[in-house]
Each structure stands twice: as C-alpha cells, then as structure tokens.
Symmetry: D2
Subunit: 339 residues, 4 copies
C-alpha cells in the first residue's frame, strides 16, 4: 500500500483526485494539505467525499509529509508548486505535479509566460511530460512527472499522430478550444459567477493563453523538429457546463492526404491505447465525461484537415492522467482506478 499526500486538496482537481484515490487498491491517502489557516475536515470542504475519508486539511512541512507519505500529488498554483516539489523530491518522495511548473523544458519560455523566476530550474530538462500515450517509457519509474495541462492534452492527442506521420504541415495549425467552467478553478470570480457565465459562451485569453507554448513544445518535439517548429494559433472559449473540453483543430494536409489516411494514422497510434478511441461520428464532451478517455475524430474538408478531440478536463485533463502517471511510476497496471 502506497501512502499518498495531496497538496492543495480543496480545489476541483483535488476533489477528483481524491475520488479516484478512494477507489485505488494500492493507495492510501494519509495527508491532505491546504494553505489556508483553518483545518476543516475533507467532508466540510467537499461534501461529495462524505463517508470516504477520515481526514483533515492541514498545514504541513515537507518533513512532516515525508514521514507520512511515499508519494505526493501537488495541486498548487505555479511557482508555489515547484517550491514544494523540490523539497519533497529531495526527501525521496515520488511526485506528480499537476501545476505547470515542470511542463516547459525551457526556463526562459517558462519565465516569460508565467512571469516568475522558476524555483527549481535544474529539473526542467529531466522531468518527463506526463502524457503516457506519447512518453510512456520516460514516465515509467520516474521520480517526478509533470502532469500535462488540460488543453494541451486534448490538442496533442488529436494532432500528434498526424504530425508524426507527416500527414499535416507543421505551420498554420489553428486550435479552437472550448472548456467547461471547472477548468477555471474553484475561486469565485466575477466572470465565473453563475448568472454571468450561464447561458453564455465567450472566448478568452485570445493569443495569450499559457497553454499555447506548452502545445508548441510538445508538438514541435513530436514533429521531430527544432524547438519552435510548431507555433499554433490557440483560442480557448468558456462553455456553460461543468466539465468537458474540446479542441477543434485545423491543419494543412500534406500531399495526397485523405480522410482515410488520417483515420489510419490515428488508429495506428491508438488502437492499443486503453483510454483513446478513434470515432467516426463527431464526439461530444459528454461521451467522455467523468472518465479518463479521449475520443478523436478527423475529416478532410475542402482541403483542410479537421481534428476534433474531447476529454473530461478534470479527469484525463488533470486528475485521471495523474493517477495514470502514478500507476506507471510505480510499475502498476496503468488502468487501475480509471475504468
């Protein structure tokens, strides 16, 4: 039985992570932390967890956590997360970091987009990017894994096999992305107030969203090119629903590409994957809601490749992927607690 600590357990990724951990036969949650001053029970913070845990949210030092846990999930804001991660890794814990801190391998890019000095830059180039469908072998047995962003997960799972197979051009990729509101976190804000975003659809972060360089980096690597080989145009939209995320991606085809060859490339990449399906009807986000699955669909329309990929932003886009990485890091069956 692996003893598990969850940092930042009061948010939505923390909640989903704890639900999955409650089902995990090899994990026992022994510590849940908060940065707030009081120490509520988990049930008070998350009524949905009633009856599952007998735990309090606590403020704990790294030493205290190291005594109680073998592995930690960090659901903290960027920079704050790396501060904690380095202390935990130094003490021998395995860590799955759900923040953005270890996703970008280039410190300058990180510091440009996040506007802070990285607290632990040495580990940037050695930490695997936790997308098992692309980097499974790097993740297996790793001490620290950078759990991917939600939008990058959906976008990359849709585009990577086509880029790798040379079926689409590296330039000119447009990703029109849509997400349910839980992706924006649990802190109340004016534009996330129910009567503001209910019955509303709005784009945000046009040209400025931090997931853009993350997508660039991974797709550039997949394309086999230099850093910056791929520069996507990425436009996220807020959709009035709790959860679910979709990327509708548009790319220029290489010569002689057909809808059939596009589908063949996706099938070749995913037919042995436990959580990815290539579908022939346009997928809805609800098809994968509350699951660790991703459904991918592609068509060639008027000389343009369209790829639609859907995930649950809190599961495959965050906490489910974290459990999948946890399983791989510990040599367990990758699908435990995720079916």
């Amino acid at each position: 039985m692996l003893r598990v600590a969850v940092y930042g357990a009061s948010g939505y990724t923390g909640l989903e992570l704890l639900k999955l951990l409650a089902r995990h036969p090899h994990a026992q949650v022994t510590a849940v932390t908060t940065r707030q001053e009081d120490t509520p029970t988990l049930e008070q913070v998350h009524p949905q967890l009633t009856g599952l845990f007998d735990l309090w949210l606590e403020q704990l030092t790294a030493d205290e956590v190291a005594q109680r846990a073998d592995v930690a999930f960090t659901c903290l804001p960027h920079a704050a997360s790396a501060e904690v991660v380095k202390e935990l890794v130094d003490r021998g814990l395995r860590v799955i970091d759900l923040s953005a801190d270890y996703r970008l391998t280039d410190r300058a890019i990180y510091e440009h987009w996040y506007g802070v000095t990285h607290p632990d830059p040495e580990r940037l180039t050695t930490t695997p990017y936790g997308l098992p469908e692309l980097f499974r072998e790097e993740i297996r047995g790793a001490k620290l894994v950078a759990n991917p962003g939600c939008y990058p997960t959906a976008a990359i799972l849709g585009l990577a096999p086509l880029l790798r197979a040379g079926l689409i051009e590296t330039s000119g990729i447009v990703i029109d992305a849509k997400s349910g509101v839980s992706g924006a976190g649990r802190n109340p804000k004016q534009h996330l107030h129910f009567p503001e975003c209910n019955e509303n659809l709005s784009p945000y972060g046009v040209g400025t969203h931090r997931h853009m360089p993350e997508i660039d980096q991974v797709l550039s690597r997949v394309a086999g090119g230099r850093s910056g080989a791929v520069e996507v145009v990425f436009t996220p939209h807020l959709v009035p629903m709790d959860r679910g995320e979709m990327c509708t991606s548009y790319a220029l085809p290489a010569a002689d590409v057909t809808t059939e060859s596009l589908n063949a490339a996706l099938h070749a990449a995913y037919d042995n994957e436990p959580f990815i399906s290539v579908v022939q009807t346009p997928p809805g986000t609800k098809d994968v809601a509350h699951s660790n699955r991703c459904h991918v669909y592609t068509r060639l329309v008027r000389g343009r490749v369209i790829v639609v990929s859907v995930i649950d932003n809190l599961i495959k886009g965050a906490s489910g992927a974290a459990i999948q990485n946890f399983n791989l890091m510990h040599g367990l069956d990758e699908t435990i607690a995720l079916r």
Copy 2:
C-alpha cells in the same frame, strides 16, 4: 419627460431597470450611481446595454441628483438605501425603493430581521407596499413606494385572493419557494460560483429568510386580521437557472372548498389585471421569463390547497414592478414599457 436617476446601477436589478427605462417613452435616464470609486461607462459594466445610453456611473450627492432628476430608483443594500431615500424625498424627488427598507411597517420587526437600526423609521408606516394588484390606490400618486421582495410577490399573488375570500385557513401555510441564481445578486460568492451551483439544487435560509416576515405582514393584512395573524413556513431553494421564481404553496382549505371555487376566487381577483393570469396547466417559470407577468395555478389535492405562482424574479419580482409603480405614481398607463 421625467428625468430619472438609478442608484446602484451595476447589479442585475439595475440592468433590467435600465433596459425597461430605455423603452419608456416618458422617462429619460440622467444619472446612474455607484458606490465604487471608478467611473466606468454603463456599457463597460453592462455590455448588454451597448448603444442604449451615453452615461457614466458616478458618485453623486443628493443635491447633485436633485438637480438632474425628478425621480429615483434605489437599488441599494438595506439601510444604505434608506439613508439615500430620506435625502431624496426631503429634496422633493419621487422614489421607488427596491431595497427592503420600507417594506416592513413595524420598526422592531425590521430591526430584528435585518440587524440594523432603521435610518428613517418615521416613513415606515406611511409608505405604500408597491404591489399594485393589492394596493393600487395607495401607490397612485405616492411620493415614495416600497418595491416588494421577489419571493413575497410570487407568494402573495398566489395566496392573497384565497385568504381574502376565506377559502384557506390563516394558519398552517407552507411556502416551498424556488429561485434562479440572479436573485442572489451580482457579487461573486463561493456557493454562486458556476461549477458549485450548476447541476445543483439546494435549499437555503431554512426558517431564517428575511422575506418570511414580509410575507407574514402582507398576508396578515389581507386576511383582515391582527399583525401576526399569518405566520408562514417559508423554505427557499436555489435552482440552476438565471432567472425565474416559483412558490408552491400549501394551505388548509376552509369547509366546502373545491378546485372550482379556488379558481373562481383567483379569476375574480385577476381577470382585470393586466399582468396576472390564472392558468389551468401547471405553469413553468419560463412562461413568464423576461416579462412582468405572474401566472397562478391552483388545485385541491387530498384535502390540501396547492397554489403555484411563477414570476421573473428580476422583472415582476423587482424592476418590472418598479416601473409599474413608477407609472402609477406619475398617473401614467400602468403597462407602459412593460408589454
């Protein structure tokens, strides 16, 4: 043309009020106030008002407002509202107060339920309660009108004709109320955060909601009895929708009451009312959304009288009623700007 000031224009009742005023042929909005420090344009605060007004939100003294306006709508928190209202009335403006400050005629009850000293207690007993269907003659020509609460509007419109006709008992009334989220105001709060209240239904203020004594007072008066003749059990619920409010009320019938006699009493009360309809299929809140209407339905079931009444909480439950009162106060056709 009446010059109109709107206090507290940045909330949802302010927004709806301004939409209605934009259509009003005898009203011109000349001032909109805010208690915040900056002075945004109305369009910045309410994109939905784009193109309708050329106004800035301002911090204005009562003297400044008195120079610009003949009449004021006050959409301010309780106590803060009465502070402003008394200054405006003293300067000769007509005022429709959308706060709770002048609804309760008994100062002690007000101060008990609202926990503050009333800033203008002298006017409590002389200010008409702005429900035209019950108190039209008092409102006509009044200088100051207390605009009713949203729940009381729905509850009273459903029950008053039956109480007045002696068809239901004054004791044992239960009001199970449900409201869309806009009724909770525009300030972001944890429980009003989209992913918290979307796909959720929850009761609140069980036995403690401030609209309870307001309903008691008006129904007691309608019942012809002493203060306290009616004491309702009132349970509000938050429903995952923008707007709309329903009261499902349960009462004990007097002897020999039938579904037919219940309907007859409602028809007698409302057939000449421009905004109230007695309906024979259970009404939905959407039937009256974005309108100043109230639909009322009644049945006798297993020896209990059931009354269902629906309104749009922001229109008939707030800003539409305020315009109706404005029309009556100025001797205008009651329905102007409300069809």
Copy 3:
C-alpha cells in the same frame, strides 16, 4: 462470477447500471436486451461505455437469457417488465426489477394507478421492497426484489425514522419534490426538449403522480398502522439539470419535538448505514451526484418539521440501489462497486 443480463439497456438507468457493473468484481454482463429491431453495439447506443464491453443489444427469449445469465436486471416499462420477470423467475434466475411492477403490494391499487391488469399478481405480496435501509433482512437472499422508485427513495429515507420514532404525525405530510430531467427517461418529448426545459422550472403530475401510492404504502407500514394510515400530498417539479433529486417534506410534530430530537432519531437510524448521512447544513443534490448516497437534514421551523433529503435519481434512486440489492441477494458486501 455471476453472469448478468440487463433488460432495457438503452435508457439512462441501463447506462448507469452498466457503468456500475463494469466495476463489479463478481459480475460479468453476458446479455443486454432491447425491444427495438436492430442490434447496435452498446457503444453505439451509449458512447460513454466505449471500451468497457464487447456486447450487442439483442432481442432474446427467456430461455436464451436463462442459458447465459444467473441474474437479471429489468429496466422495462411497467407491465412489460412483469411479463419478463415471471418468465425469468420461473426459470430460476434472480431478478432485480427496476420497474414499478412489484412495488405495490395491493393489486387493486396497482391496477388503479397504472391502468393495466397486473401480469403476475401472485408475487405482489411476497416480493420485498428493495430499500435496504428499511428492509435489509427481507432482501438478503431474495429471488426477486422490487427496486424502489426514485422519489419514494428520497421521501421515505427522510421521513421513515421520524414516523417510526413517533416524532411526526401520520396525517398532513406534504412532500415538495424536485428532480433533474434524466428522471423522465431517454425518449425525446416536447416538454423535455432542451430549449423547453432549460432555464425552466415546472411542477407536473400535481396530485396524480404514481409515486404517491408507493410512498403511502411504505410510510404506512413504517408507521405501524393499517394500509392508508399515511396519505401524503406529493408535488414533483422538473429542474433544469441532468440528475439529482430532492424531497423537501413538511410534517406536523408530535408533542415536545425539537430539532435536536429529530436529528437524534435520524442519527439512530443512519449512523451505521454505509450510504446515508445526517447533515447539519442544507444539502444540495450535487453533494450526492454520481454516488449511491443520501443526505438528510431536518429542522423544526415555526412548529413544523422540515426534512430535506437528496439523492442521485439514477444511482441511489435506481441503478445504485439495484446493485446494492444485487449484493444483498447474493450475500456479498453491500457496498461493492458503490463506493
């Protein structure tokens, strides 16, 4: 490993049942039936089940099912269900019936409310009502169990302990019920069309809902009285959300009842129950969404007992309860696949 057949697998209760069965270590789904003519795969009918089963919906005779399965869940319309159930029970299968056919013990009441002749009246008086919190011992080892209705589950779990303890009167009980739209089934209908019921709240079946006699029967039995000892006034409402169900119940207290004694009775009944919690803040339906839990809350307000109970209508109100009964019938740990 128990071989399981699911009848009527194309609806929402079928979907949720199959999701739970996919996680059940002692169940293997071997047949899923439909009354339609084609034989789609489960994934075509329920994209959410992608990757979990390798099954087709089929039209099967009772003999064919008896060869493939040891136990069956029937998610069929009333009367159609009993036709199948009797054939299966006669062939030795254990059956959990999710229709209303075996819930009412009085054939005349069944035939009055459902307007059909009962196809299998002999078993009405011997089939346990599958609410483990009240009738666990009858369910344990049973061959056939009548899975309760969703509203009765929520209503009874809230009221039964108070009735049994003599804290509330048997007469005068009002149940104001609210349900998400999945409770109305998967067949498209005008009033369930998205733009009709979104942003809408409406009562339905006022005084005529078929769950009313079911609640009467169980509460009368609990109250220890004759049949008909309890006759509730029951008003359901349709709420614009997928799932979740709430009963806000109002009852007259016996002498000397307090909020404390009400809570004490609930705690005495439920503190050892794996799926029921007595809570001290008004519960929201989302607290128990996607779980087999029920949260119950009570207060005495102005001389009236208020009880609020919430469940997920598809889980504790249907498929989760069915799994709980399945576990009990087979001597398994009651909570398997339900945490």
Copy 4:
C-alpha cells in the same frame, strides 16, 4: 397600420417574431398559420405570449391570407416556404421569407445542397439578401426579401468588412461556429433531448452544413470576385444554452495588416450602424442575448487574423433581422421595435 400574417408561428422564430410584432407600433398581427390540423390559441402553443394576442393558429389558403394581411413572414421549412411565398407575392403581399429558399441565387447550388427542386426559381436572382448592413439599398422597398441564415449573419458581419478592405485573403478562411440549441428548432429529437445535450458540447454537420454555400456566396460577392471566390471551412458546434451564436473565424492577413488596421476597417464599416458594435474585449453571446445586436472583435495573433462575432440566433439571426427588413421594405425607421 400594416396587417401582418405569420406562417409557421408555432416554432421559436415564430415566437420571437410575435414578441417583436407585439411591440411594433405600425404592425398588427391578423393571421397566424400552422400546418397541423388543430387550431390552438397562440397562448396554448406559446405560454410566453399570454395576454398579447387574441389569435388562433389556422390553416389558411393564400387567398384567405391575402384578404387579411398586407405583409407576411414565412417561418416554414425549405421548399414548403417557396410554395407559399410565390402565391403570396403573386397576390401582391410583401413577404419576408425566413426559410433558406431565396438566399442562394444559383438554382443548381440550392438544389444540390437542399436536395429538392426549387418551386420558384425565377425569383432567385432578383430577391435581395436581407442583411441590411451589406445590402440596405436593395432591401429598401423590396417586395420579397430573403432573411439570412443565423450562422451566415454572424460569420459575414465579422468577415465582410475585412474582405472588402482587402485585409484578409479570400482563401483559407476557417469559421469555427457555435450555437445555442434553439437554433435547431422546436421539434423534439434524440440529440436535442435535455439530458443528451445539457452538459455537452458537440460538433455536427462537419463539412456538410447548408449554411456553408450561403456564406461562400455572400463573401464571394463582397470580395468582388467570381462566384466561388471564397470557399470557407465551416464547423458548427452545439452549445448547452438556449440562445446565442458565435463565429470564431480565422483568416490569412494580407501584407502589413495589424490589429489596428483590422479594427479600423470594422469601425469604418460599422460606426454608423445601429446594431453593430466593434468591441475591444472578447465578446460573449450573452452581451447580445435577446437583442438585435452583433458585437465584433478582431486581433492579429501569430500571423493569423482572428475575428469573433456574436449574435442572438433567434433575433439578429432570424426574427429581429426580419423586423429590420420589414421596416426597410416599408420605409420605416429601421430600428422600430428593435431597441
């Protein structure tokens, strides 16, 4: 006073049209038709119209309508609409056709995309396309106007000024479109059943939507080129909300284009338009809900022009535009009943 008939009044565009007509000082609705056999009152079909009209839905011949009305709005399915329109125009009525029948000027393209023989092909080339912001002079005084599709309205209003100013290339335009569910009409269908599309986001009609050739035609004309000069890639998505429509369009910039020059072109086109605003924060659909407005936003991001345009699909995308055309056809102030 113009006497008005509304064909196909039982759907959502009929409903919104009637709400607007109820406010129109120069229009009196004298006939509302249905193709169904019974003759319900308008209130029965649309409870939201309670108190506004004293009309029954009827089956009427063209002669009967011609006796009662001067002008007709046709909200009928394609082909069925042209059958009626030609009869009405032949009898001297002015007609605003809300179907797709007179939008495409090329009969072959119409018959290819709609799969029917056009019942009235002669009028195809002479009927103005009812988008006043582009074709106001053609509409003014016209006998018959083709009211635009909802998606084309949003897409064209966003892109046309940039194409006309030569700021974007005619090739390579991608339109990622999103619509609320009312755009799919009022007939219940499986995928529009509340629990199917609530909490769901899904693309549909990928590469096959009939609004694609309509957008091509108008943008090609605007671009000054031959028919087929513009061929857009158009992907619509269904969003879980009642109303609201957004086009997020992507185009290749001409040389030396900047965010400033893009905005300047939009301002030049729209600063005198009563219903169009160029905005500097990404617009939400709720900003224009229940209004005849369109908000347009543009940015140059990584060498790609992004244009976001939002409308209310039932108002500016259908019934509001129809009233705007009605006003223009009759020489009235274009904004009557639309503020």
